[in-house]
Symmetry: C2
Subunit: 200 residues, 2 copies
């Protein structure tokens, strides 16, 4: 890796931490300069605009969050248990980038403007939904999950329940709402999603 590439990567990491906590609009060029220790010219040598840097910083923050949430899922064979582990990882995991879920933060900031960022966060959400939907689809195939269950609906329900609970948790600075969402989702998965072969 060249020195220029190393500097570029470091800028992305610092910008991801800054933007994910203070927002893209809430972070000024001087905040970026302070975080990276670079002058304006040094930053613009690597990125043509703040928008371009924000898009790369979002991708990095998302990759870091997603990795934290899925890192051990391969070790869980059953699809229902895999979904439960995912939920637990979302709540207990400590991603490398501070400031909460980048999808939640960036959606709210980009939904009324910033198209480049909006496209990135939409792609992240779809990757996330499809990943969970594939777990459900595999469970359907292996008859761990009821045949009338819609894979994308379950995925959407898990993501929306967790993101909404995270909003409340950040407001209250306690995990309570997340734990309520977790027990609700676990009960839902056990009662309405899991196929109970013996009881039917």
């Amino acid at each position: 890796m060249t020195k220029g590439q190393k500097t570029r990567d470091r800028i992305v990491v610092e910008a991801a931490n800054l933007f994910n906590q203070r927002g893209f609009e809430g972070s000024s060029m001087s905040d970026l300069m302070a975080a990276t220790g670079l002058e304006k010219g040094g930053l613009y040598r690597h990125f043509s605009s703040k928008e371009e840097l924000a898009a790369e910083a979002f991708d990095y923050a998302w990759k870091s969050a997603f990795e934290t949430r899925i890192h051990d899922l391969d070790q869980v064979p059953n699809s229902i248990e895999k979904l439960k582990r995912f939920i637990a990882n979302f709540i207990d995991g400590r991603p490398a980038v501070a400031g909460g879920c980048p999808v939640l933060n960036t959606t709210i900031e980009a939904d009324d403007g910033n198209r480049l960022l909006r496209d990135r966060v939409r792609a992240a959400w779809r990757e996330w939904r499809d990943y969970l939907a594939e777990i459900v689809a595999a469970g359907l195939k292996r008859k761990e999950i009821r045949a009338d269950v819609d894979a994308k609906e379950v995925a959407t329900l898990i993501v929306s329940s967790l993101e909404g609970a995270l909003m409340i948790a950040r407001l209250e600075t306690t995990k309570e709402a997340l734990l309520t969402a977790q027990s609700h989702l676990e009960r839902h998965l056990d009662t309405h999603v899991r196929l109970h072969t013996r009881s039917r």
Copy 2:
């Protein structure tokens, strides 16, 4: 109402629309001047700081959103049906302030900084939760709701499910995720919250 009071109220309304769409950090003083048609001095005659204006604008946006969600609930006698109507109003209602739910927008912006705004949005969330919890408590008293149901948990679940689904809906620019949350919550209310006296 004096002319000064009228101007002050108009500034709050315009600022609420601006902040709720573009964010507090994303709205500059010149955006505020353009939206209100006032000079900087004219704005500062009514508000000592952008923070003070943001707090009042948030309160206005919240009042408008909450009113849209609860306006017809008194006409619904049964507590379970009241909660369902609330959910439907959240999804279908058109509040006077554009840009989505002010609680969601403002939480994400204020969670890593801005304490004045954070206190306002926390108060709004608690008002909202307590309002829904009181509907559940009344339903418990009238034996419409199962005795083992926790009123605050149901309220938290409804708010978090709707806010998370709203995040996805804004990202996708379709109502699909909100309708998924609605049918999930309705089923949950009917299956696990409503007291079925005859079937027990």
